[in-house]
Amino acid sequence: MIDIAFFLVFSAILFGIGMFGLITSKRGVVTLMSIELMLNSANINFVAFSTYTGNADGLVFVIFTIAIAAAEVAVGIALMLNAYKIQKTTDVDKLSTMRW
């Protein structure tokens, strides 16, 4: 069996990529994709731990997380469309009329 450390390192790398994308990207849709990556890296953790401990709770959690992530992105795309309709941009840097 593959050592659990490999799964954890893989999920940590995935989470790091997601966080990097979230911080550096200006495009709203790309930030949504980065958030999906971060949520999925946690899912990998859950599945790995669940398999190694033989406890099915983690698998149940993953199913719920996938549903929640889908809902989150559906609302997210709707909000981006709304912002695009009003301000003609989804550039996160330009959506900054309110400061401090």
């Binding site: 971060m38 953790n45 709770d57 989150e72």
Partner: protein
């Protein structure tokens, strides 16, 4: 009479009885769009949602009165703590639903609006009564996702759309952090049940994965309660959203974050205190609390928009409530729960007041409030009561709750303790700082000359809601026993 009713409920529904209040609120969420489709009248939808949530509130009170406590499906627990939090969420929902139909910024999409509010309340009630990490996560996500949409419902306003996008990105990031933290805790302990986690941690002790998990959850739920440095979304969202929604988010959504933090971290660090670094994490919470209240109060001084000022003051109040997380004693938790209730009447009252004045045609800037006392003496007096209560002037509610909360940091286990004295000291200094910017608004209202002398007329529902909040501010300040006992019982259920 109530006893036989509660018994027949348990007989008829079995375990479902203990999640029946949430289910009833969910029915309101499902019914609202249908009702709006059938009647096309926002007021009817608001009345129906109000009535259904009222039924749920009465049910909760009957179940509290007859001590019908229990667990449903091993995931949700109806106990003194969760029932008290449910009443708090529903009280906020009542205030919001009461003023929404007459508010000028309210959307034409009444069905969606009340449906989202009911869904948020149901999600909060589920999160407050949850006993597993899975149930907590789902409850919190229901609240978050619905609030993103609720903020954006103020259509064709660039500030609202911008606030919604910011809220979504930051909120989703915090969910991901929480989820990572939960997966680590699950990996270490092999279970999702909070109390079992506490018991296992007490035996196994802490390792790096456990610490990583705790940090992830502190950061994730720190975003939800807007603790510094995770507070940046709060002012933007409260400014951008329509004002009743800002009040709703500031008073209810934050309290859910606290309920969840109390549940998780008291289980981890009080039940499992023998195995983990309880003291170190207590200091982490204490430092976050001190920074949160200081930054919130200092930044609030320089605000010119009243909604932003109230938002930063709400950040500061979150810092005060976090004292309970640092001290981790039953007395301090009683104070924190009591402060949550008084915060609902004073901060909720202030936001409803701002909404009323916007409806009457005033702006959101503090300078728009010049000479308000001449134009509408009653409303100005009520606003002054709310602001002085937020600052903690006796004999108003804010003073009493701050007194209990701060003394919780000094009296630990029945004796004066030096350990958290500095935290109480910082909190008292911060209360003094906060008086400056609250008094500035009062000065603008009472001393400066008005720009015009027209009388201000606000719709009747606003007057009723404001009157209720004024009564709350005064009664809870003079006679706190009516709530303190319940809060004490709720805090005892956590330990």
């Amino acid at each position: 009479m109530f006893e036989s009713f509660a018994e027949s409920l348990v007989e008829a529904f079995g375990q479902v009885t203990y999640i029946l209040p949430q289910v009833i609120v969910l029915i309101a969420a499902l019914l609202a769009p249908l009702l709006h489709f059938a009647t096309k009248d926002g007021k009817i939808v608001a009345g129906a949602s109000f009535a259904i949530i009222a039924i749920s509130a009465i049910l909760v009170m009957i179940m509290m009165h007859t001590v019908t406590y229990g667990t449903a499906f091993g995931m949700f627990e109806f106990d003194p703590f969760s029932s008290l939090m449910m009443l708090l969420f529903m009280a906020v929902a009542f205030l919001t639903i009461m003023v929404s139909p007459v508010h000028v910024e309210t959307t034409k999409h009444a069905g969606e609006y009340y449906s989202l509010i009911a869904a948020i309340v149901a999600g909060m009630m589920f999160a407050a009564s949850a006993t597993t990490l899975l149930a907590i996560f789902i409850g919190v996500e229901v609240v978050s996702i619905s609030s993103y949409a609720l903020v954006a419902l103020k259509k064709n306003d660039p500030r609202a759309s911008e606030a919604a996008v910011k809220y979504l990105i930051i909120g989703a990031f915090s969910s991901a952090l929480t989820l990572l933290g939960m997966s680590m805790i699950y990996g270490v302990t092999g279970t999702l049940n909070i109390e079992t986690i506490g018991a296992k941690v007490a035996v196994m002790g802490a390792n790096w994965a456990f610490i990583l998990g705790c940090i992830g959850m502190i950061a994730g739920y720190g975003f939800k309660i807007a603790a510094v440095p995770f507070h940046s979304w709060a002012p933007d969202v409260y400014e951008g959203a329509s004002t009743p929604v800002s009040g709703f988010l500031a008073t209810a959504s934050k309290k859910m974050g606290f309920a969840v933090l109390f549940k998780i971290f008291f289980a981890l660090f009080v039940i499992g205190s023998t195995g983990v670094f309880t003291l170190e994490f207590q200091y982490v919470f204490a430092i976050i609390a001190a920074i949160t209240m200081t930054v919130g109060n200092l930044v609030a001084i320089s605000q010119s928009n009243i909604k932003r000022m109230l938002a930063y003051s709400s950040v500061a109040q979150a810092g005060y409530i976090m004292i309970a997380l640092a001290v981790m004693s039953q007395y301090a938790t009683t104070g924190a729960l009591f402060h949550m209730f008084t915060h609902v009447v004073m901060k909720g009252g202030a936001f409803i007041m701002v909404a009323a004045l916007i409806t009457a045609g005033l702006g959101e800037k503090i300078e728009d409030y010049k000479g308000l006392a001449k134009r509408t003496p009653l409303l100005a007096a009520a606003m002054m009561l709310f602001l002085f209560s937020l600052a903690g002037i006796p004999p108003l509610a804010g003073f009493t709750s701050k007194f209990v909360l701060f003394s919780g940091a000094i009296f630990v286990d029945g004796a004066v303790s030096m350990q958290w004295m500095w935290l109480a000291f910082i909190a008292v200094i911060n209360s003094a700082i906060s008086l400056y910017y609250y008094a500035r608004v009062v000065k603008t209202m009472y001393i400066e000359k008005p720009a015009c002398d027209d009388k201000i007329v606000v719709p009747a529902p606003f007057m009723v809601a404001i009157a209720l909040c004024v009564i709350g501010v005064i009664v809870l300040g003079v006679y706190p026993e009516i709530l303190l006992e319940l809060c004490d019982k709720a805090a005892a259920a956590l330990f």
